[in-house]
Every structure is written in structure tokens, then in C-alpha cells.
Amino acid sequence: MQTTSLLARKREREVRKVSAVFLIPALLIIAVFIIYPIVDSFRTSLFDWNGITAGKKFIAMNNWKELISDDTFWKAFRNNIIVMVLSIVIQMPIGMAIATFLDRVGKKGTIFKVLWFLPMLMSSVAIGYLFKYALDTNTGLVSTISRMLGGKNIDLLGNPKTALLTITVVICWQFIPFYMVYFMAAYSSLPADVYEAAIIDGATRGQYFWRVALPMMKPSIKSAIILSMVGSLKYFDLIYVMTGGGPGDASELMATYMYSNAFESYRMGYASAIASGMFIVITVISLVTMKLINGKEEV
């Protein structure tokens, strides 16, 4: 008896030791490049500092006070929310429609699947520049088409009223393939006989989609919404390349505002406050949505 428990304890100790050896590299990397930076960001936000020279002055919560009354930050926050809502509203239904189509046609649709997937392979910078030129006032696609139809040149990115909207459309162009793949995965995880059973019971395709497939994919749709939300709160590359947040602050997002404060105005302390603010905002929003979305399910 005693020997077995002794052996068990020895085994347990060995498991613990081996686990530690295997886990330490990953935990170390996460600690250094994810956890420490989050903490450091909060710490730097308490200083007045240009980020380069040694003159680092402790100013306690002043950066945070400034942040709370900074109109541009809240404008950026509002823009982030606009992009977020529009992203969900545009990307989800189109992604779902395409996935439904590809699921229906099966193997025959491979060529469409491959071609529609292409935007996913491009970097945001490449997409940003591509569209910057494709939307150019004089030589771009939109202006050319408008002229062909007898209209005038259209300046979408230079106009404060349309800049953010235009960028959102480009973001949708970039990410719809992702949701296409995502919902195709959701379709393929449905049991194969569900469709047949529904059809045998006399359901039409439409009824199958609305009454059977869609409700069964609810969990995937929920996590797609969370993904899209968290994703759209951290856009940077595309906006940075296309408008740099402009014209004025018309398309400023939290991340671009943080970047320009750090590397153009050299206000590292304040930029860190923006970054930390971003962290808080994103964490709160994701937690609240997760609670809301998952909470409803239990009722």
C-alpha cells in the first residue's frame, strides 16, 4: 500500500517537473513580450517623457486627466466604434452568404473559394496602398467609372465625410474572405445528415438555412462577432497607410492616435496612456459582449 502511494507521489513529482520544463519557454516569452509590456505601458503613462532622452518626469495621473478630456481621443474612440459596428453589420451577412453559396455548390465551387480567398494573402499595407491608388481622385477606379457614367471625379479619402466610411469598406473587402472561411468551417462542423433529414421532411433550402443551419451555427456566429469586435478595435496598418488618420482627425483611430503621439509628437508618456486606455476599453468591451452574448444563451 505504502509503496504504491509513494510511487504515485514520485510520479506526480516527475509530472510536475517535466511540465515545468516544457512550459517554461512559452511562459517566459509571454511574460516578456505580452505581460511585461502591458504593465510597463501603465507605468510609462505616469511620466512626461519624449521617449528618447533621459529627462523623464513623474507627473502622476496628469496624462490620464488629459486623456479623459481629450476630444481627439474620444473622436478616435467613436471612430473605432463606428468601424466596429459597420464591420460586423457588413462582414457577417456577406461572409455568411458566400459561405452558404460555397457550401451548397461543394467541390464545384473550389475555384471561387480560392479566388475569393486571395485578399487574405495580402498584407494590410499592400491593401492600403492598392486602394489608396485605386481610389485616387484623378486616376483611380472609382473616378474613372464615375466619369464613364458622365459624372465627376470623386475624392473619397480626402473628404472628411467619406474617409472613414471608405476605409471601412476596404476593411470589409479585406476581411470578408476570413468570415467566408470561418462560416465554411461552421458549415462543415454541422452533422452531415441534418441537411438530408430536413429536405426529406419537406423543408425548402431557405427554410433549412433559417430554421436549421443558422440556429445550429449560433455559437460560431457569436464568436465571429467577438472576433470581429476585438479585431476592429485594433486596426492600424490600413488607416496609417491610407489616410494617416486624416483628413484632420476624420479617420483617426485609437491606435493611429497613439502612434502619432509617440513617434511624431514624441510624447511617449501620453502615448502610453492612450495605449493603456485602449487596453482597458478593449478588455471591458470584450468582457461585456462575451457576458451579454453568452448570458442570453443560459436564459
Binding site: 509530472v15 516578456v32 494573402l121 494590410s124 502612434y259
Partner: protein
């Protein structure tokens, strides 16, 4: 009655076909614009408009790009990708092994911590990592990129590999253990070979992310000689702002490796994205 439903069916088909066509146009027009642009001269682009086909097969843009600095950017991208990817796959396979296989008190908390890291917005860490790299004198070198690239793809990779390893039957390990095989050997000679398909999927999926990464590359490097391919686009843009065909050529050249990889690993990539997608 039947006539009517038949007509309805045909109408439905036409609508679907029209939508498919519309989506093809939306998805393609930008690519068309990009690729056509590369075969045009600067003034041809300005004068001829977008839809005019190039007058001849004009390859000077490509020649100029390939004679320029592009090889250096390409080399940097490849070095960063190969090192980051190798370390990433090894470290995440190591971490996934105990998390999927052993029972110990810290298992759940550690796993939750790693999964929680998936939703950390990477831009929050941009400034602290910049300051860190300046402090340890790695700023403005490609080595500065490797740490962050590993770290930000680690949580999802561990997550996917844990799921993958949980699907491997335990009997194999138990048999090996009875034969006197230690835990490390089990990992190397049994687990590692068995998760190879999972690793391949992850490799392709992570490659796309790393290859296209911009924010860290922009912030952590400065001189052209130390920058990666996404930054080449940026630098060419500064240099040739008015030469649209030239920039389109750089765009095509930077996407080309990914498209080639996609042609070979199409299935794996889409599978990787799907695995990544269902993480929520």
C-alpha cells in the same frame, strides 16, 4: 402551379448567379488594377486611364524593382520568418504537450492565461517593446522582430496544438511508458511526429501573419537595410510617390511569395484559418 415554382427556381438561380458575378467583380477589380498597372509606364497610367490595356508587354517596372533593394528586404523577411517560425512551432509544441496530456494543479490556470493572451491588442505592447529594444540595443535590427513575432502567434498556436494533441490516443504513450520510455523521449519520438500535420497547418497560417506584419516592423527598425518586405512598399512609396505602376509592381512582388505558397498549401492554409477561426 408547377410552372410557377419552376419559374421561381430559375429566377432564384439567376439572382444567385448575378450576385456571384458581382462579388467576383468586387473581389477582382482591385487585383486587376494592380496587375495591369505593373505593365504600364508612368505616363501611360496617367493619360490612358485605368481600364485601358497596356500598349505592350512593358517589363521595365519589374526589372527596376528586381535590380533595386528588394532582395535585401526579401532576405530580411525570409530570415525573420524562418527563425521566428521554427522557434514558435517548437515552443508551442512543447507547451501544448503537458497542457494536453498531464494532470497537475496549474494546468487550467496556465492554459487560461495563454488563451486570454489571444485577445490582447498587440498595439498596446508596441511602445513598451520599442523602449525595451532600444534599451537592449536590438533596436533597428531584424532580431528585434523575432521576439514579438513569436509571442503574438504563440497563444493561438498553443491553443490549436492542445486541441490537436487531445485527439491523439493515450494508449501509444502508455505502451511506450511501460517499455521504459521517459517523458522527454515520448515527446520527441511519439508526440512530435504525430502532430506534424498540425504543425504544417500552423506553419502556413503563421507564415502569412508574420510575412505581412507591418506595425512592429515599422516601429522596431529604421534603416532600409534592416527592414522587411511590407516596409519595402512603404519605402518605395516615399521614393516613387507619383509613379503608380512602380508601386503596383512592388505590391505584386511582395504578395507573390504568399500566392505561390498558397498554390502549394491551399488546403493547409484554409484548414489553418478554420482552426484559427473556431478558437472562440
Amino acid at each position: 402551379m408547377r410552372e410557377e415554382s419552376k419559374a421561381k427556381k430559375i429566377a432564384g438561380k439567376i439572382i444567385v448567379a448575378a450576385l456571384v458575378l458581382l462579388w467576383c467583380v468586387i473581389a477582382f477589380l482591385p487585383f486587376f488594377f494592380m496587375v495591369m498597372g505593373t505593365f504600364k509606364e508612368q505616363f501611360e497610367m496617367l493619360m490612358g486611364g485605368v481600364f485601358k490595356m497596356p500598349q505592350q508587354l512593358y517589363l521595365d517596372n519589374y526589372i527596376e524593382v528586381f535590380q533595386g533593394n528588394i532582395w535585401n528586404y526579401l532576405k530580411n523577411s525570409v530570415v525573420v520568418l524562418v527563425i521566428s517560425l521554427t522557434v514558435l512551432l517548437f515552443v508551442s509544441a512543447c507547451a501544448a504537450y503537458p497542457l494536453s496530456r498531464f494532470k497537475f494543479r496549474m494546468n487550467k490556470p496556465i492554459y487560461s492565461l495563454i488563451v486570454a493572451c489571444m485577445s490582447v491588442p498587440i498595439h498596446v505592447t508596441l511602445l513598451p517593446i520599442f523602449l525595451m529594444m532600444v534599451k537592449i540595443h536590438l533596436y533597428d535590427s531584424i532580431w528585434a522582430l523575432i521576439g514579438p513575432y513569436i509571442a503574438f502567434n504563440l497563444p493561438i498556436s498553443v491553443f490549436i496544438l492542445v486541441t490537436f494533441m487531445q485527439g491523439i490516443p493515450k494508449e501509444l504513450e502508455e505502451a511506450a511508458e511501460i517499455d521504459g520510455c521517459g517523458k522527454y523521449r515520448i515527446f520527441w519520438s511519439i508526440m512530435f511526429p504525430l502532430v506534424k500535420p498540425g504543425l504544417a497547418t500552423l506553419a502556413i497560417y503563421n507564415s502569412v501573419n508574420m510575412w505581412n506584419e507591418f506595425s512592429f516592423a515599422l516601429t522596431l527598425t529604421q534603416r532600409a537595410e534592416n527592414r522587411t518586405l511590407p516596409l519595402a512598399i512603404w519605402e518605395y512609396q516615399g521614393q516613387y510617390a507619383m509613379n503608380v505602376p512602380m508601386i503596383m509592381t512592388v505590391l505584386v512582388v511582395s504578395v507573390l511569395p504568399m500566392i505561390i505558397a498558397f498554390i502549394f498549401g491551399q488546403d493547409k492554409l484554409i484548414k489553418g484559418m478554420m482552426a484559427g477561426a473556431v478558437k472562440g
